[in-house]
């Protein structure tokens, strides 16, 4: 699967889609492949703040549990409720399945993240 060039990526395998001062956050195709069948996504509620580099939730597959790390800081404005009943969409459409929508504290901080080419290099070497 191709890594969309309109997304930014973290070394922890999250992606972020920024438009203006808001952004959507999800996990990458590489991450869902490593996890296998996702059965449960534990996310914060709207109104909570998340901090770049810190844990904001967890994701469980049949075989493992893994923490989710915030690519950028901000306030959670929406949570994808469909993931409660259909967590498997993380597997089937990883880059189209957002988990959180966030109002960014500092949209300019995106420069510290990886672009799609850098991310592809990262997963090639791992």
């Amino acid at each position: 699967m191709a890594y969309p060039s309109d997304l930014k990526y973290t070394k922890d395998h999250e992606w972020i889609r920024i438009s203006g001062d808001t952004a959507e956050i999800g996990i990458t195709d590489f991450a869902q492949q490593q996890l296998g069948d996702v059965v449960y996504v534990d996310l914060p509620e709207a109104g909570r703040t998340i901090t770049a580099g810190d844990t904001f939730g967890s994701i469980e597959s049949v075989k493992a549990v893994s923490e989710l790390f915030a690519p950028m800081s901000g306030e959670v404005v929406d949570v994808n409720q469909q993931l409660k009943d259909r967590p498997e969409t993380v597997n089937s459409d990883p880059h189209g399945t957002w988990m959180l929508k966030v109002r960014l504290a500092d949209p300019g901080a995106a420069g510290a993240l990886l672009d799609s080419r850098q991310y592809e290099e990262l997963i090639k070497s791992s």
Binding site: G36, D37, V39, Y40, S58, E60, V62, K63, V65
Partner: protein, 346 residues
């Protein structure tokens, strides 16, 4: 691929859920050649088996297999295994890969003590391919002259499978009907390919360690190293039915008789999560702020579609319907004790 007891084994081929569902609804093929084989033969072989293994094998016919335990003198599990009666004085034990060397060293010593019998580690002589699921019989039958309808559950026969010399056993680790086929290692690939080819129209899939674990857990089959080990007895593991109480002597008997009289203080139970999340191996069972027990196995089951597991709990918490608290990574989550197995084929 993951390293497993000295073998490189695939966790999954097409995904744990897909493989699990295939076995419950059609069939799946597993390469379980890592399992260890130990054979005991000689004039006193039957006596040695009766002394070394906890189940009563006296009624075991030639061609029949039995689930049993290899116990320490303390009555705890060195391993769990199947024993096959190959001939009146010839038995084959099929042991967990991670324990096979330890088992053989122990068994060899005990067989020598009994005398007039010998134990041989024959693990390298067998590959083991399993086909499991409701379609297993119709997929395997075209490949062999052995009439599979004549093989009852936990019986085995000899013949050929896809031109390989084979022992076919109607056993498995999934809770489904199915077969385990012992073949020479150099024929393993041919048998594997033949089964997948024969199963193509039934959409049979290859299955890895991941589905093997979720399937066996739904069927509440114990996994050595998780649910049973050298600290737990058959009574604590709720496996009293594999103890040959009528036998005068076997290794571990005194401890088990004592434990049966006094009653166990903890017991392996099944649970279903009431709160969201999966309670996994090693998570504590809490009673107030005290640690009262431990989860031994846990997963989200693809077929039953709920989070289940097994745990050791104090007997006062073991009744079906009891609610228990599990520490899921720092968060107390509720679960309910339920009857085992979680899944039973109809």
């Amino acid at each position: 691929m993951v390293p497993f007891a000295g073998w490189d084994m695939p966790v999954e081929y097409s995904g744990i859920t897909n493989e699990h569902m295939a076995v419950r609804t059609r069939a799946g093929v597993f390469d379980v050649s890592h399992m260890g084989e130990i054979e005991i033969a000689g004039k006193n072989a039957a006596a040695a088996v009766q002394q070394i293994l906890c189940n009563d094998a006296s009624g075991l016919q030639v061609g029949q297999a039995q689930y049993t335990g290899l116990l320490t003198p303390d009555g705890t599990f060195l391993d769990d295994m199947l024993v096959y009666r190959m001939a009146p004085s010839h038995f084959m034990l099929v042991a967990n890969a991670s324990n096979a060397a330890k088992d053989f060293a122990w068994i060899n010593e005990q067989v020598k003590a009994v005398g007039d019998a010998a134990a041989v580690d024959t693990s390298s002589r067998y590959a083991l391919i399993a086909i499991q699921g409701p379609a297993a019989r119709e997929v395997l039958q075209p490949l062999t002259g052995v009439d599979l309808d004549d093989l009852k559950y936990y019986w085995f026969g000899h013949g050929e499978v896809a031109a390989a010399r084979a022992t076919i056993s109607r056993t498995g680790y999934t809770g489904e009907d199915g077969f385990e086929v012992f073949v020479p290692p150099n024929m393993a690939d041919a048998v594997w390919q033949a089964l997948l080819q024969s199963g193509r129209s039934a959409d049979v899939v290859p299955c890895g360690l991941g589905a093997r674990d979720t399937l066996r857990l739904e069927a509440a089959m114990r996994l050595y190293g998780n649910d049973i080990d050298e600290t737990t007895t058959p009574l604590e593991a709720d496996l009293g039915w594999i103890v040959g109480w009528k036998k005068d002597a076997f290794i571990g008997r005194d401890r088990l008789v004592d434990q049966k009289q006094k009653g166990v203080s903890r017991k392996l139970v099944g649970f279903e999560m009431l709160d969201r999340g999966i309670a996994r191996h090693g998570y504590p069972i809490m009673h107030g702020d005290q640690r009262a027990g431990v989860v031994t196995s846990g997963t989200q089951t693809p077929f039953l579609k709920k989070a289940i597991g097994m745990a050791y709990v104090p007997v006062h918490m073991a009744a079906h319907g009891s609610e228990i608290d599990i520490d899921v990574r720092g968060r107390l989550s509720k679960a309910r004790v339920v009857a085992l197995p979680f899944y039973k084929r109809t």
